[in-house]
């Protein structure tokens, strides 16, 4: 692959530019759906972009006590990690831009990095609210991360592969098998809610308790980058779930497959907004206990089920 096409891939498509636009569109979709569910008018379509531009134009304030390097570096790390993960996910074909055996693990780890950078950013800003938010971010990580791993593991086991692209090929040939992963799909959606820090799992940035959580001290460009990282994370998370759990129609004409991909992502965002509307924010101890008491055993049961099906029938 030439350098020019690699640069094009990184910067324009499906790199930063595409992901950025997609992230803003999904943020708008999420916000307007949330508003309509709540009987509100909601923002105009350009609102996420306007917010982004406004934030980048604002003054950047770094607390005196903060570790300047870590504080400034973390938003960039979060954004790049989330963007990199996108290259390994097959979206509108059966193969991703890059793929190798074990790429699913790389994607999951790359998706963990933004969360860790939220923690480091919050912790390094030394504000009380940010520190508590940072500790909560980590506590939350331990409750949903395992769920996400277990949730993604089940379809991979069924397809007998460690590569996202290979798993999509498997499901193209055995479409009925997708139906066996419904519980894993539900669990991954819940874990994604936690990853994106949305209600009922927005404990780490609970506005009424700890102001802005990890992001309390962030302003201007840095905050804009963090918010963009969350948007991109939403695109990547939704694409991952679409690729793993809804891998139908990938053999079709690329244009049709692309439209189908957009529809899948929109459905996932719709479900996320719906959950956000329906529930109150849980307390951190409640979240940990709910995740480990109910969802983790369910995920394990799903894996057991898949293994039995695989051993007996295939």
């Amino acid at each position: 692959m030439g350098i020019a096409s690699a640069l094009f891939n990184i910067i324009v498509f499906p790199g930063f530019l595409f992901l950025g636009v997609m992230g803003l569109i999904l943020e708008y979709l999420d916000r307007i759906l949330y508003a309509r569910f709540q009987n509100r008018q909601g923002p105009p379509f350009y609102q996420p972009l306007a917010d982004f531009i406004k934030l980048t134009a604002k003054e950047e304030i770094i607390p005196e006590e903060a570790d300047r390097r870590v504080f400034k570096f973390m938003p960039i790390i979060a954004l790049t990690a989330a963007t990199t993960a996108f290259f390994y996910i097959p979206m509108w074909g059966t193969s991703a831009l890059f793929s190798f055996t074990g790429d699913v693990i790389v994607v999951l780890y790359l998706l963990t990095i933004p969360t860790v950078s939220f923690f480091l950013g919050g912790w390094s800003s030394t504000s009380m609210y940010a520190s508590i938010g940072a500790v909560r971010t980590l506590t939350q990580l331990f409750s949903y991360e395992v769920l996400l791993f277990l949730g993604i593991l089940s379809p991979m086991l069924l397809a007998d592969t460690w590569s996202l692209s290979e798993s999509t090929i498997y499901y193209q040939h055995h479409p009925v098998m997708m139906l066996l992963n419904i519980a894993a799909f539900a669990i991954s959606m819940i874990a994604l809610l936690g990853k994106l820090e949305k209600v009922p799992f927005d404990i780490a940035e609970a506005e009424t308790e700890i102001v802005g959580g990890s992001f309390t001290e962030y302003t201007g460009r840095l905050l804009a980058l963090f918010r963009m990282a969350i948007d991109v994370e939403m695109v990547v998370g939704a694409s991952l779930i679409a690729a793993v759990f809804l891998p139908f129609g990938l053999m079709l004409n690329p244009v049709v497959a692309f439209i189908l991909y957009l529809i899948k992502v929109c459905i996932i965002v719709f479900l996320l907004s719906l959950f956000r509307t329906l529930f109150a924010r849980l307390r951190i101890d409640q979240m940990v206990s709910v995740c480990w008491k109910y969802f983790a055993p369910l995920a394990l049961a799903q894996i057991l089920f898949v293994m039995i099906v695989k051993g007996v029938f295939l």
Binding site: N39, P200, A280, R281
Partner: protein, 410 residues
Amino acid sequence: MAIVKIPIGPQHPALKEPESFLISLDGERIQEVGMRLGYNHRGIEKAAEGRTYIQNIYLLERVCGICSHSHSTAFIQAVEEVAGIELSRRAKYIRTIMGELERIHSHLLWLGVAGHEVGFDTLLMYSWRDREIVMDLLAMISGNRVNYGMNTFGGVRRDIDKQKQQDILTAVDALEERTKYYAKVATEEITLIKRLSGVGYISKEDVYRLGTVGPTGRASGMPRDTRKDDPYAAYDEVDFNVITDNHCDVYGRTLVRVGELMETYKIIRQLIKNMPDGEIAVKFPRRVPAGEATSRYEAPRGEDVHYVKGNGTDKPERVKLRAPTLANLQSVSKMLEDNNLADVPITIAAIDPCFSCTDRMIRIVDNSKGSANTTDWETLRKKGIEWYRNEKGIDFTDLNKKYANIRKVD
């Protein structure tokens, strides 16, 4: 993590008014709560002494934005008692209707705030949308959404005619239906129940010991309601229940408020059905005779107490008021003991606090000498002028002279 101190307030997204709670945390557990009042003292009592009774109605109506009718009624009742004036029955009925409509809007507002504090914004949006029904109703009757200006000495200033009565009944039907829905949400929505039950516990004994009032006290099984215990206005002519609950937590307080809404609809229907004919106001003297009176009023947040002392002129000698939040603040630190940080906003919000209504007087306590003295108006004024002159370089006396000169020229 070591013990950290986290400030909730004076400026914080969870608080709608300035108040300081300094919370010592061990991880997520609360160890200790330090509370400081007085960030929004407005000197209303002192200002009331410098104004005539008529002006004071409007001043005291502005003690609170939400329970404005409560404060003005409590004050007027005290003055009427000093003057020995008896109201017409129709005026009493209209006052009661306004008071109950105010209770609806206050409780619906609280429901939304409670939803927001536990991160359930959908409840906030829904209940505040439905609150618009009663706000429109209040605007239709009085011309204002808050600070209605309905009360005057000897009666009320606006009548509620047949058409308006019909509008009220229609609106109450709609509100009742919505309230039933919220009662269903509060008792069935699992994350909401998880966040509310067991939070901010205060026992029945503590409620009596700390002098808690209003829905907060009633949610801990204290059957106290001024409307029932010491009926004023038209409350002795209507039939209603005092809602109590034995959960003793925020969940109980939610149930009590929703239950009270249902009782309020009942009261309004009875009042409109039995509305007597007659004058809405009787003549009231400009000068109020010497004498003193205390008046109690069940505001949406609890018992509101006003004390008025007249000296035979057209200005009161002393006005003292105790907003319900002051009575309830004592219990907040008790409620917060051994809770989670996440429960702080909802526990504070559960007493339906109104901090600016509460802040009352300045009392300077010198810890080294152990002395305490209350600053009077004149000293406070001098101190303020000097502080600005020395610290900020602004001289208000000069400015005032300048303004006086400008006015003369005009």
